[in-house]
Amino acid sequence: MDLPPLSQQQLAAIVTSASTPAELYRTLSDYEAEACLLSSQDSNQAELLSLYYSTFFFSHLLTDQIYEARISTKRMPQGLLQHDPSLQNCLNLLRAVWQRKYEQVYQVLRELPWSDPLKPIVQSYEAYFQEKTLKEISKAYEAIRPAAAATYLGLDPVTAAQADSTTVQKLTAYGWTWDQETGLLHPKPVVEDPQKDDRLYNELSEVMALIGNRRS
């Protein structure tokens, strides 16, 4: 029941051992109470807090909880949030993701200085974001100019605009088709298989029975 105490090593261990983002998020949120007890005045603890909250923030993003991520920034010690560079980076990232400014998202992820312990999770978020965006554009667009697609996916829009083969190849690898004549890419929607739940079948008949009972 009791968690091992929060420390930089423990955090690193959690990040590497978590098999899914959801699990990572759950484990980290269990630590929030403990983090709450630490003081941001103490410089050692402040460092740990910064790392903890940044990691926690990314675990929100990785599980697509953008509102929660925003709310979590409000729960952090506000003094720390204002002065800690990592957390400031997080805020910038949040703003870009929230407003769907794709260029900025990639810029923040790639160009801002992230501390070493954070780098793995930043990279995994970049990959996650790219893939999520790819799924979304494949659903939203029937035809898209390579430059636009490149901007969404954080590729170089200038070379993409010239329809260079690497960009196009990258995208055709996802099943997209390339129309040489019109210079447009036709994405193929990624259909996600909804999770099947056998319970539902039984419950549905219960509902119908219930409705039947009410009627009489």
Binding site: R70, L91, L94, R95, W98, Q99
Partner: protein, 494 residues
């Protein structure tokens, strides 16, 4: 439950009354007082010839019609106003003479006829005054002698006189006073008809309706009833037309007996019945009903023969030839705009007919090109590109957004696509919605019952159950004012 009903009924009917009276007073009285000037200007020449047109009418409606044409039609204004001046001068109503002259002076300031004949006016005023005094005096004499028939006739004469000089409200009062002195159903019928005609001129449509009903319920001889029927139907139709219930109006006009002939020329002609009835039917009935109840209606055919273009328009509509139908209506628009009763309704009637045509046109298709629709319904705009700037497309957008058309516009292929129904999906969605709705409603009601059962109803703040209970909650409330409520300030943008 029962005692609620009369109440609800009352409010509904009084509302109606207000509306109808409002419409009425805005209608004819406004026009006869000429406060704001004509609202409609008609520049196109009408198809009728003024002289023969006005020859169809008798009585005060002649002046009203002439004056309306004179003030609304730019093409006929001088001719019509001159006729109106002459018409007024032949009568005894000085105010309408003055009005006509003033209106004429506005159009042709230099015309000799535009100078008011003050001499005549003064003379007429004196003579009118003398006549009024004489009639009032006579009536007083009859009253003293208590001879019913004389009192009735005295009132009738007085009413007649007041209506001639344009004092319509006094006229109406005089006619109303006849009521107690009528001895036979015939008398009552003639009195009611007078009140109806007067109410039509005053634009008091509610009064028209109630008196028509009175007349209809009158126990009188068969032939008497048959004689009055056409007038009653026509008057009722007029009042329904003016209160905007076009379907009812159509039914009343359709039910008017052709024996009407020219017997009601002080109000309307048989031609008018054909036009009013035809347009109202076209605007309110579907193709089936139009065929069955209008075109195949033997008695109404007599009217339609007088106005063949209405007949043609209706049969075009029934045969789904919407373009020619609309073309006919457009061609006669100027005529109808110069009609004293139709003027205010032409626009609504036309747009309803048009909307119905568009709906009927779309019925058999799943998609129609905007181009062909423009050709059909807005040939003037067919040269323009069919995008959102086109007025016809804007019209369609309006129709879709107010739910008249169940279709959507495809601006990529420039077609109008009718919406397909996914029955299964819709049923599923409505089930979910109902379920949600039910659950919510049930929750609210159960909570309500339980709150009341627990004695937790909200009550006035000064009637607190006890002091000590109150304090902690007050504190809590205060704390929340300070801290909690700020939670949401600027919650949206990061």
């Amino acid at each position: 439950m029962d005692y609620m009903q009369p109440d609800a009924f009352d409010t509904a009917s009084s509302q109606n009354a207000g509306q109808a009276a409002g419409v009425g007073s805005a209608d004819l009285e406004n026009m006869s007082l000429n406060v704001t000037g004509p609202l409609v200007k008609v520049d196109d020449p009408p198809k009728f010839e003024l002289e023969s047109y006005i020859a169809n009418y008798t009585g005060r409606t002649r002046f009203n019609r002439l004056f309306l044409i004179g003030t609304c039609s730019t093409y006929l204004s001088v001719e019509a106003l001159k006729a109106a001046v002459a018409e007024a001068k032949s009568g005894r109503d000085v105010t309408r003479y003055e009005r006509a002259v003033r209106a004429l002076a506005e159009v042709t300031p230099n015309d000799p006829e535009a100078i008011p004949d003050t001499n005549w006016a003064d003379r007429m005023k004196k003579s009118v005054k003398a006549e009024t005094d004489r009639l009032e005096h006579e009536l007083r004499g009859y009253k003293n002698n208590l001879i019913k028939e004389s009192i009735r006739m005295g009132n009738e004469d007085l009413g007649q006189h007041y209506s001639q000089i344009g004092d319509l409200s006094s006229a109406s009062k005089a006619f109303q006073r006849m009521r107690d002195f009528c001895t036979t159903p015939t008398h009552i019928a003639s009195m009611l008809l007078k009140i109806i005609n007067l109410s039509i001129e005053r634009g008091d449509w509610l009064n028209v309706q109630s008196n028509v009903i009175r007349l209809r319920n009158l126990q009188s001889k068969q032939e008497e009833q048959a004689k009055n029927q056409p007038k009653m139907s026509a008057a009722l139709g007029l009042s329904q037309l003016h209160s905007g219930s076009y379907l009812d109006a159509a039914n009343s006009f359709l039910g008017t007996d052709p024996s009407l002939g020219d017997s009601y020329n002080e109000v309307l002609t048989s031609n008018d019945v054909a036009v009013y009835g035809g347009l109202c039917a076209l605007a309110s009935m579907d193709r089936n009903d139009l065929q069955r109840r209008v075109l195949d209606n033997n008695s109404f055919r007599n009217f339609l023969e007088l106005e063949p273009q209405i007949r043609r328009a209706i049969s075009f509509f029934c045969n789904s030839k919407f373009r020619p139908c609309l073309e006919i209506l457009e061609a006669y628009q100027a005529d109808y705009l110069l009609d004293v009763h139709l003027q205010r309704h032409v626009h609504t009637l036309y747009s309803r007919i048009r909307t119905k045509s568009i709906q009927q046109y779309l019925l058999p298709y799943s998609r129609v090109t905007l181009e062909s629709m423009t050709k059909m319904f807005a040939p003037a705009a067919s040269a323009l590109p069919t995008n959102t700037t086109s007025p016809f497309v804007q019209e369609l957008i309006g129709l879709i957004q107010d739910g008249t058309l169940d279709a959507r516009i495809d601006l990529e292929k420039n077609v109008l696509v009718t919406n397909q129904v996914h029955l299964r999906k819709e049923v599923q969605e409505s089930i979910i919605n109902n379920l949600e709705e039910y659950t919510r409603e049930a929750h609210l009601r159960v909570l309500r019952a339980n709150i009341i059962q627990a004695g937790l109803e909200v009550r006035a703040d000064d009637r607190k159950p006890s002091r000590e209970e109150r304090k902690p909650h007050d504190d809590r409330g205060k704390a929340s004012e300070g801290g909690l409520w700020n939670v949401f300030s600027r919650a949206s943008g990061v």
